[in-house]
Symmetry: C2
């Protein structure tokens, strides 16, 4: 039988890697010759999960058409987030929890739900097909939910994500809270990274009323770990603004234990940051209580402040 590749998005996070593993296994049980692959190497958080549950990192591909005719996309659907030769293969299945910007010539399976994590949907698919989830795969699926919801604290987390995570923790034989915290901490090992790496690992650019705003988010278990490097980080932020043409650089340092963030902003329009969060920046920084989601809690008020 012809092989089918299953993969998550470029610059993969734990959900993208775990989705490829769990969905490929499900497809194998349904008789499909599916192989889980990745569009990049795992980050430290994902590595921790893979090690815990006994998986090797997935084979990394850059193109798909050279080896298969058919692919299945998990945790993404947009053309710019996938293999560059996506037009040369047939997409037969999509499982995702993001916004949709997708086109295809042939009818296919598309399963999207507005939940916190792709693996929450994949759990439902296992149920619907009556396929048992092996303990090690349940562990990866749990890791994905913990990662995407910041241990159930993100506003993107739904009650159904929590319910599924509980069941997966049972199958995997781990305590979700204890394991989850260790896994998230593994992703906050900032000591080995340069300031430039820290500021680019998870950064995205946004146009806000003609102003180019760069927003990076760094997870930590102790603000002091990051703030001890504040001078060097600020120097690098100013350098990035100048070299890359950003008008404003916003660094969000998120404490995953307390579910608070500290924002550091440098450049044109820091007053908009103050307006967005109804705060005053002191030495370029301010504490944002209860803020953990860039998508839901930072981009919308900042956009509004720039448009106001």
């Amino acid at each position: 039988m012809e092989k089918v590749l299953v993969f998550g998005h470029l610059n993969p996070d734990t959900d993208s890697i775990a989705s490829a593993i769990s969905f490929a296994y499900l497809q194998q049980q349904l008789g499909v010759n599916a192989e889980a692959v990745a569009l990049g190497t795992p980050n430290e958080e994902t590595e921790y999960a893979l090690n815990t549950f006994g998986f090797e990192p997935l084979r990394v591909i850059e193109t798909a058409a050279n080896e298969v005719k058919e692919v299945m996309l998990v945790d993404h659907n947009e053309a710019q987030q996938t293999v560059k030769d996506i037009k040369d293969v047939r997409v037969s299945y999509v499982v995702d929890h993001h916004r949709i910007a997708f086109e295809c010539a042939e009818p296919l399976f598309y399963r999207a739900e507005p939940v916190g994590c792709t693996n929450t949907i994949i759990y439902k698919l296992y149920q619907e097909h009556n396929v048992e989830i092996p303990a090690n795969i349940a562990g990866m699926m749990l890791s994905a939910i913990i990662s995407d919801t910041l241990l159930f604290k993100s506003p993107t987390c739904t009650p159904f994500d929590v319910e599924v995570a509980k069941k997966l923790a049972e199958i995997a034989g781990v305590d979700a809270e204890t394991y989850g915290l260790e896994m998230l901490k593994a992703g906050t090992n900032l000591a080995t990274k340069t300031e430039k790496e820290l500021l680019n690992a998870d950064a995205k650019s946004f146009d806000m009323n003609g102003v180019t705003v760069r927003i990076d988010q760094v997870n930590t278990v102790d603000f002091a770990d990051v703030l001890s490097r504040k001078d060097a980080l600020e120097a690098e932020m100013l350098k990035e603004n100048e070299e890359e043409g950003y008008d404003l650089f916003v660094l969000l340092i998120t404490n995953i234990l307390d579910s608070d963030s500290i924002v550091i902003a440098l450049g044109e329009g820091v007053d908009k940051v103050e307006a967005a969060f109804e705060t005053t920046l002191e030495e370029n920084q301010s504490l944002l209580k209860g803020v953990v989601s860039r998508k839901k809690q930072v981009v919308p008020p900042l956009t509004e402040a720039f448009n106001g």
Copy 2:
């Protein structure tokens, strides 16, 4: 609770009307204030189904944003097939079995499967939510599957469509074959239609290597019913070619009892029609054994003949 509108595509067929009815009812059972509406009046086949199972025609809307903020799309997803103000409302759910060309800003429920009919997918959704299907709604869902698969004979029909139709027939308390034939026949009442109406009811235009090909399909239970009007139909086909700028007009007359079609072709490139179906046209016509699907059995070989 805010109202949500549920509707199928413009120029609605039986699946679009039945999907709106069956999916709105399911959503109501799940606590959503959903109303089934339509983007056009029912055709004669759909009218027959509505009458049989005791439904009034759905309220017809032209725009949505004037009455709701949220809509659910069934049996379609593409912008040009839906309400003209689709950009002004939020799409929260799509259930469909067609190719996808869709964009939205927010995550949503999207359920697509490559089966013969949208109501086959909706049947699964009833199962997943443990909602009982009322007999009259089962009758509409069955009608949709029969319509889309031409009583299970179209190459688009899957074994799962057949399986679901059997269960729906049981709930509706009708014999699928007997009822189905009567319903399809109701849609083949050609006597009341002018030649122009017959040639436009279901016609689509295709560009094939620079040649504009117009393909219309007419269902019948007796070829003679249509062929008795052949002279008038041919005169109208030539008139359409001249007035609308079609290079080639292809009329497919499909016998829904025998699952065969007669093709009549007039204009530039009738030799391509002969090449596509490995046949010779006599007096502009030829019998195509086993051909019932324009999408799967006519457009692809004709496209190939024009490109060859």
